[in-house]
Subunit: 501 residues, 4 copies
C-alpha cells in the first residue's frame, strides 16, 4: 500500500496465448487473454489491449484496446469480435509519463513489407533517446513517445527488408537485442507465431505456462506471462521462465528455444529485486521460488537484524503481511491485525495531490482498537518511499491507543532512480535522500524505525534460489546462466549497465 | 467472501451530519456525507444519494443521486452543488428486489403541508403489505415498491395535517412506530433538524458520533451512521448508539433524546446477529464491543466445539480472518495464509450465473502453495449459504497440494428466510435445507465440515456485552433496555415479531 | 427557429397505442410508441418515457425512461424489455422549470388500491398551487413539482377508494375535470384500457389514429397522439380529434366516447393558437386543417396587411417558409432562399447565455449571397419574442449585400405570459413590452418591421376551419362544440379562465 | 439526403488557423478551429481532431481527438487545454473503410529529426498501394491503413534527413507531390507555419480566408478550409482558393505562395464535379461561383432538357431545393413543398440494414398533403445512387394523393467508382448499372424519370466560371491555370490520371 501511494509503479504486464492442435480451434484465446490480463492487473491499470491473429496466410489480426482496468476497457460484446483468434498477445499498461492516451495503449501493430507484427513490451530501454534519434535519422517519423513504438520500428528497419525473402524475424529480434541491452520482456506476434523475448540481463520477468485439458492432461495450448500468477486462473500449469537473453518461439507445434543472446563477459544477471519486494503478486514464482516465501524470509531476516521489545507484530495490509508473519515467527511475538481496509476506496495513488492522499489513508483504513490499545506495536511495512503515507497510519494507531509504534521496513531505503521500467519519484522526493531522514522516526512520528539491510535483502532473495534449485524445470536446449544476480540499483546506485542519456 | 457470492446482502446504510454552531458554516457537510457513505459502502453498492438542507425558513434542499458506488454516483462537480448545506442525510442502497432503478434511490424527499421532509431508511417493514394497503385505502398512490416511500407517506398521513399548526414531526414519527414494530433505522430530515430513529427491537444498527476540532477538541458537528466505522474517516469520535425505540433529535444545538418507544411487555431486543457474523465492518462497535473481537471469539468458540487434528489454520480472505486467528490461538495450530486475492476482480456476486461465479473463484484467488503443500489445512469460513463457492476453493487447495481440507464455519447453518432487511436466498436454495446437507463434506469436497452452534454463537456475542458494559457511553436522559437479546431468526426460525403477510 | 432561440417551448408530447384483436399480439407496441415519440420530439427534448402493459389481470407494467432525445433515452436493448406490451403510453418532455431530472420524467406510474395507473400529461394546470395544497392537506406527500404527479394523486384521492368495488376510473377522471378547467391533454392507462382526455377548453391538442394493415385495410390497433404528424411514420391513418372535454376509452375492442365534460355556459373553446403559429409540425392536422396551410394563409394575410416595395421574399428557415411562400404568392414577389442552415449545430436554445446564442446564429446560418446581393429583401419570420436572434441575421444579410431588409412577422407581438403549458419569457423580457419596441426596426437593424394583426391571425386560422368543415370525421356519439374559439392570451392578455394563484 | 442514404460520402474536411501579430495572441485559435470544423461537419462525422502549436522553439503541440461529431468529440473542458495555441490545424473525418477507430483520427503528429509535424488530409492517393510498399521497403512500419499516415512518413523519408541542416519542409512537400499526382488537399503544420497544399489536379477544394477585426478591418489572422462556408461563422472573409498544385505558406506574417507544381503537359484540372452536385454546402464558393447558384443552374438546365406536363414542382428536402427552384423558374410551374422533415431523426445512413433505412424514410418525412393532393408532381432529386430511398418517398406521395410523380434528377447517372476520396457503392450496387435501370421509372414506382445529361451538368458548372471570372481574387504571385476542367469520372469512367493498383 505504501508503495502505491508513493507513486512507485510497475510499467506493464504482457500476456500471450497460442492454441495447440489444429486451427481453427475451440479454445477461447481472447477470453484467456482477458483473464490473463486481469491476473496481471496489478502491473498496470491505465489501459489494456489485445491483438489476436487467426494465423492464416495472410493473417487477419483483430485489435481491442481501451482505457482503464481490463473490466472497463473490454466490453463483453467487444470480446466477441476476437473470438476466432488462434493466438494473441495482450498488454496492461502503467503510465509513467502522465500522458494517458489511447494511442499509447499496447500492443502496437504495424504493417511491414513482411506482413503485420504486433508487439507488447514491459520495461524501459536505457538507451531510448539514442535509438529514437537513430530511427528518425533513417527518416522514420515516430507518432508516440513510447519505447514500444520505437521497438516495432527498430524491428522493421534492420536488417534491410528484401521483398523476395522469407521474413527472418528472429534475425531482426537478435539485432534489436544487440542495439539495446535492457530492459525488456517482449512478445512479438507474426502471423502464427509468438516470439517471447527477455533482455540479456533478465531485468523484467517472463514465464511460460501450459494449458492443460483437465481430464487427460493433454496440452491445449501455451501461454506466456509477465508473472506465473496468471496461470491458475486460466487452467494453465507453470512450465518455466524465459531465460535472460532467450528468444522462445511459441506456435501451435509447441515451444522452442531459438537463441540465448549473451551478456557482456562478466556481467551478472540483473533481475529487478523489487519484483520480489513489492511489485509481483505473492503467488508468482521467480527463479524457482514463490514471492510470498521470499517476503516471509525478508520478515525473518528483519527480525534478526532489528529485534524489538514490544507486545504485538502487525502489518500495513496487505502487501506487508507475509513479512509481518515472518517477523512474528522469528521474534516469537504474537501476530495481530491492527488495521482493516475499506475495499471501496481504490488505489489512492490515482489521486492528484498530497492533501487528498492523506485523506485517503483515513478513508482507507479502520483501526481495530481492541487488538492494540495499550500495547507496544511493531508495524511491518514493505518499503518507505516518500514517508508521507506511513505517518498518518502511525498517528491513527497512536490516537486509537497504541503506546509505542515501531516501524520495521522489510526492504532497504530507496535512494536512486530507476531507468529500467519502474516509476520512482525523483531523487529529491525520496525520503532517504532528505535531511529529515537522519531522524526518520521523529519525522514520521514513530517510536523507532529500522530497515532491512541490502545484504539482508539479497540473502533473503538469493538464499532461496539455491535451496530451490532442484525445482526449476528448464528445457534441455536452453543454457541457463548459473550465476545469480539481481538489480539493486534503486538501493545502491549500481546500475547493471552504463546509462546512456 | 462466501456470503457475497451467495447473494446474501445487507439492505442499506444511512448517514447524517449536522454542523454545529452558527450557520452558514464552513464545515463541508456534503463532503462528510460522501466520505461517510464510502465507509458504509459494504452495506450497499447499487445506488447512493445525498440530500442537504441549508436549514433556513423555508429551507432549500439539494439532492444528488446516482447509480453504482459512491465514487461513480457522485461526480466532483456535482458535489459542488451541495456545498452550502448545513445539514444533510445520505443513503447507500443494496437492491433486494433486482429492480435497479434510480427512482428507488434514497433519500426520498416529499413536499407536505408542513414543508419538505427527506427520509433515509435501513431495514424492511415486516407489515409492509398491510401498511401499503392502508395508505392506498386513504387514496394515496405509491410510485415505487420501496418501504422508504411508504414510510414517508405514512409520516405525512397521520395525524391529519392542519395548515395552521406548527408541524409536530415527532408525533408523526411516534405514530409511525406504533404502526410498524420493525425493522428500521431511520433518518428523517426536516428543515434544520435530523431525527434519528431506531425501531423498538433495535433490529438494525445506528450510532452517533461527534465531529471534533483537532486542536481544541470543540464540537464541530454531529454525525449519525449505520456503523461507527465511518466516524474515523471524517474526524468524528464515537459517542453512543441510538437505543432500540429511541428518537434522537440532532440539530446545531446538539443531540437530544426525545422519546423511547417501548417493545411489547416481555419482548427482548432483537439486534440482527448477522451484523456481527458477516455484514458489519470489523472496526465497527455495537453494544460496546468491536465486531472484530466478536468474530475472533466465534473462532475461539469454534475451536472448542470443533477441534481438528491438522497442521495449519487458515482463512478464506478476508472476512473470516479474525475467526481464523481466534481458532489458531485457541487450538495452538499455526496460522498461515493459503490464498491471495486479486484485488481487481471485484465482488463476484454481481455476476449473473453460476458458471461465471465458479470461474470467479479462479480469477479471484491465487494459491500460496509453499504454505500448505503436503499439509493438513483447517480452513475457516464465516458462513456457508449455498455451498457453491467454498467447493472450488477446496478443489484449488487440493490440486495445489493440501493433503486434507477441514472446513470450520464460524456461524451456524442458515435455514430460514429473513424478513427484516437481509437478502437471503430462498429456503430451497440454502444448502442447510437440501438433502445434500447430510453429507455436506462429501458434497463440497472437504475432508470434514463443522459449524459453530447457535448457543456458541450467542455466547460469543453476548459474553462480550457484559464484559464490556462499562465502556458504553449512554446519555443520562436515555433509558437503555438492560435486557440482552439478538435476532437469530435465519438460524432458528424464531422471529422477534409475528409476521403479517 | 426564432422561437427556439427565444426560450419559448412546448411543454410536452403524449402518445398512446393499443393493439386490437386477441392478446398477446404480434404488434410491436413498444416500437410504435418509440417512433410515435420521435415524431413528437419537437414538443420536448429533455426526457422521454414509455410504460407498457400486458393487459392481463393483474397487469404487468414495464417502464423505460431516460434523459435527452428519444434516440438517446432508449437503447435498443432496453426496448426488448417492453416487447410483450399489448398497450402502452409514452411521453416526451420539455422542461419549463430548468430542473432537469429523471424523476420528473413521465409517464408517472402509481400503485393504488384499484391497481396501477400510468399517466402522461401535456399542459399546465392553471390552479395547480391550490390543488397541491388540497392534496397535501389530505396528508399526501408530493415527491416532485410536476403537475403530472399531482394529477395522479388527484385521480387516486377522489372519490374515496373502496376496496370491494370495481374501480370506476372514469368517475375519477370526471371528478378531476371538475377540479381543474385547463390545460391538459391526458392519457391514463389502467390494465387494458387507455383513457384519452382533453380539457373542456381543448387547450392542448390530442388526435386519434387507426393502425391499418396494409393489404386488407383491417384495423390492427389504435393510437392517440398530441399531433397527427406521428401517424404516418407508424402506418396509422388519421381518425379524428378528441373533442374539448371529451373522455375517450381506447381498448382492444376499439374506441368509445364515454363523456364530454362541458365548459361553463358561454365560454368558447380555447385551443392554443400558437400551436398553429409555431409549435406544431406543419403536417399535423387540427380542427380539420393542415398546419402548413394555416401558416401559408398567415403569410398571405400578412402580404395584404403589410405589403412591401421590395425585390425578393425569403424566410428564416425553416419554420417561416410556408408563411414566406404565402407572402410571395399574394404579393407576386419572387421567393428565394437567402440562408442555408448548418444541420450539425443543433437547437441553440439549449445554450445557456446570450453571447453564445448570438454566436449560434453565425454558426447556424450561411448567407446565399448570389440570391440577394444588391437587392431589397422581405424576410418573413414566424414570431419575434426577445428580438435578440433576428438582429444578427439582419446584420448578416446586410453585410453580405442586401440593400434593404424588411422584416414581416407572420404573427402578432407576444406581450403576455402563458399559464397553460407554454414556456414564455417573463413580461419584461418580451421585446413587445420594452421601450425599444417603439422603434423596433431601429433596434433590430431592419429597414422596416411589420406584424400580422391579431384579427388577421384569427381570420387566417378560423377561415380555414369553416371551409374544411366537411372533412372532419367525428363519431356520431360525440357532441362537438360548434362554436369556434382559440386562446390568444399571450397576444391579448385575455385568458380563457380566471387565473388562480 | 438521397445521397446520404446511398452510402456516398465525402472523405474529410480540413481546417487551419494562424493568429497574426505578436504571439502569444489573444485570438482563441482552438475555439476558431472548433467552429471551423463544425461548419465542415457535413464532410465527415466519424471523428474530429485538432492540434495546436504555440509556435515557439521548440514548439509545444497539444492534441485533442474524439469520435463522433465535433460537439461530441471535444468537451468544453478539453478545449481549455488548447487555449494557448497560436496556430493549429483540424480535421473532421468520414470513414470510408468501416473501421471506425480513434487511431485513424487525424491530424497525425509525428516526431522527426527535424521536429514534430502535424498533417491533416482530405482526399485519397490514387497510388497509395505502391507508395505504401515503397515506404515499407525502406523499413518503416505503418500502424494504420490511412493515407494520412503514409503522407507523414513520406514527408519524413525524402529527401534524407540531415541532422545539421535547417529543415526544408517545402522541398519535402514538393517531393511528395512528384510521387503522387492526386488526390489531396493537405495542411502540414511545423512549429510556427502551416503549409496549405492542393494536388496538381485540384481534385479536392481548399480556400483561404482572412480573420478581420470588426471595427478597423485589421487582419487578426488567417484561416484555410476545405470550404469557404466556414469563414462566416468565425468572422473571416473569403480571400482566395489555393490553386491546383500550389503550396501556400501561412504564418503570423501572412500568406505566401511558395510554388505551383505543374500537371503533366496537356492535362486539364480535375476538380471533383460532385462537390458542386452534392457534397459542398450551398454557401461555399468554388472557382468564383456559389455552389447554390450552380445547383440552381442545374435545375434550369434540367427543365430545358426534360420538361414535364405537370401541376407543381417540388424537392426532396433539402439538398435538391436550389435545383427545384431553378426548375420551377425555367418551367414556369409553381414551386411548392410536399415533404416536411423531422429534424430529430438524424442521418439515417448510419443505420445498418435496408429495412431500417426504409423505415427511416417514414420516420423522416411528413407529407404536406394539401399542397399536392390531386395534383401531378415534378419531384427534383439531386442524384439517384442505389434507388432504394426515392422509392418509398414516391409511394408516400402517391398514398397521400399525388396523381403523378415525375422524378427529375439534377445530375447524370453514377456508373463508376471513385478512387479519389469519395465513398461510392460498388459498381454492382449502383442502380444505373443494374438491369432494372432500363425501366427505372417502373422500378422505383415513378410516373417518369429523367436525368440531367453529362454535357448539361458540365455546362451548368463551367458556364458560371466564365461569367463569374471577374469576381475571383487571386494573388498576383500565383499563376492560375486558365484551362477549365472537372473530374466526371464517376459519370463517364474517364479518370484524370491512370490508376495504379
Amino acid at each position: 500500500m505504501e508503495f502505491e501511494e508513493s507513486g512507485i509503479g510497475e510499467e506493464c504486464g504482457v500476456f500471450g496465448c497460442v492454441a495447440a492442435g489444429e486451427w481453427p480451434t475451440q479454445l477461447e484465446v481472447a477470453q484467456i487473454l482477458t483473464l490473463g490480463l486481469v491476473a496481471l492487473q496489478h502491473r498496470g491499470q491505465e489501459s489494456a489491449g489485445i491483438v489476436t491473429s487467426n494465423g492464416s496466410t495472410p493473417p487477419t489480426y483483430t485489435t481491442l484496446k481501451g482505457m482503464g482496468l481490463v473490466s472497463t476497457a473490454f466490453k463483453p460484446e467487444d470480446l466477441l469480435k476476437l473470438k476466432y483468434g488462434n493466438l494473441g498477445i495482450g498488454h496492461t499498461r502503467y503510465s509513467t509519463t502522465g500522458i494517458s492516451e489511447l494511442q499509447n495503449c499496447q500492443p502496437f501493430v504495424v504493417d511491414t513489407l513482411h506482413g503485420k507484427i504486433a508487439v507488447a513490451h514491459n520495461g524501459e530501454l536505457v538507451n531510448a533517446a539514442a535509438l529514437r534519434k537513430k530511427v528518425m535519422r533513417h527518416g522514420v517519423g515516430l507518432s508516440t513517445s513510447s519505447d514500444s513504438e520505437l521497438i516495432t520500428q527498430l524491428l522493421a528497419l534492420t536488417p534491410p527488408m528484401e521483398e523476395v525473402d522469407t521474413p527472418d524475424w528472429v534475425a531482426r529480434i537478435k539485432n534489436l537485442m544487440t542495439e539495446t541491452p535492457t530492459s525488456y520482456s517482449l512478445l512479438v506476434m507474426h502471423k502464427d507465431v509468438i516470439y517471447a523475448v527477455r533482455d540479456p540481463y533478465g531485468n523484467r520477468p517472463l514465464s511460460i505456462g501450459r494449458l492443460v485439458e483437465k481430464k487427460k492432461g493433454d496440452t491445449e495450448g501455451w501461454v506466456v506471462s509477465s508473472e506465473s500468477c496468471s496461470f491458475q486462473s486460466i487452467g494453465a500449469r507453470y512450465h518455466r521462465e524465459v531465460q535472460p537473453g532467450e528468444i522462445v518461439q511459441i506456435s501451435k507445434h509447441g515451444i522452442k528455444s531459438l537463441s540465448v543472446v549473451p551478456r557482456p563477459e562478466g556481467d551478472p544477471p540483473a533481475f529487478c529485486i523489487f519484483e520480489y519486494v513489492y511489485f509481483a503478486r505473492p503467488d508468482s514464482i521467480f527463479e524457482g521460488q514463490m514471492v510470498y516465501t521470499v517476503r516471509q524470509r525478508c520478515g525473518r531476516q528483519l527480525a534478526i537484524e532489528a529485534p524489538t521489545d514490544a507486545d504485538v507484530v502487525s502489518t500495513v495490509p496487505e502487501s506487508a503481511t507475509p513479512a509481518a508473519l515472518g517477523y512474528a515467527q522469528e521474534s516469537g511475538l504474537p501476530y495481530v491485525e491492527v488495521l482493516c481496509k475499506n475495499r471501496y476506496v481504490g488505489r489512492t495513488f490515482i489521486q492528484p495531490n498530497t492533501r487528498l492522499r492523506q485523506l485517503g489513508v483515513a478513508k482507507k483504513f479502520g483501526a481495530l482498537t481492541d487488538n492494540f490499545a495499550g500495547k507496544r506495536v511493531v508495524l511491518i511495512d514493505d518499503s518507505i518511499v516518500r514517508g508521507n503515507t506511513i505517518s498518518p497510519i502511525i498517528k491513527l494507531l497512536k490516537e486509537a491507543g497504541a503506546t509505542e509504534v515501531h516501524i520495521r521496513v522489510a526492504s532497504p531505503p530507496i535512494r536512486f532512480p530507476c531507468y529500467m521500467g519502474i516509476n520512482i519519484p525523483t531523487k529529491e522526493e525520496l525520503i532517504a535522500n532528505k535531511p529529515e531522514f537522519e531522524d526518520i522516526a521523529g519525522y514520521i512520528g514513530a517510536t523507532s524505525v529500522r530497515y532491512l539491510s541490502v545484504e539482508g535483502l539479497v540473502a533473503a532473495v538469493q538464499g532461496g534460489i539455491e535451496s530451490c534449485g532442484e525445482k526449476e524445470q528448464i528445457s534441455s536446449r536452453t543454457k541457463m546462466s548459473k550465476r545469480i544476480g539481481h538489480c539493486t540499483a534503486c538501493l545502491t546506485g549500481k546500475y547493471p549497465v552504463e546509462l546512456e542519456w
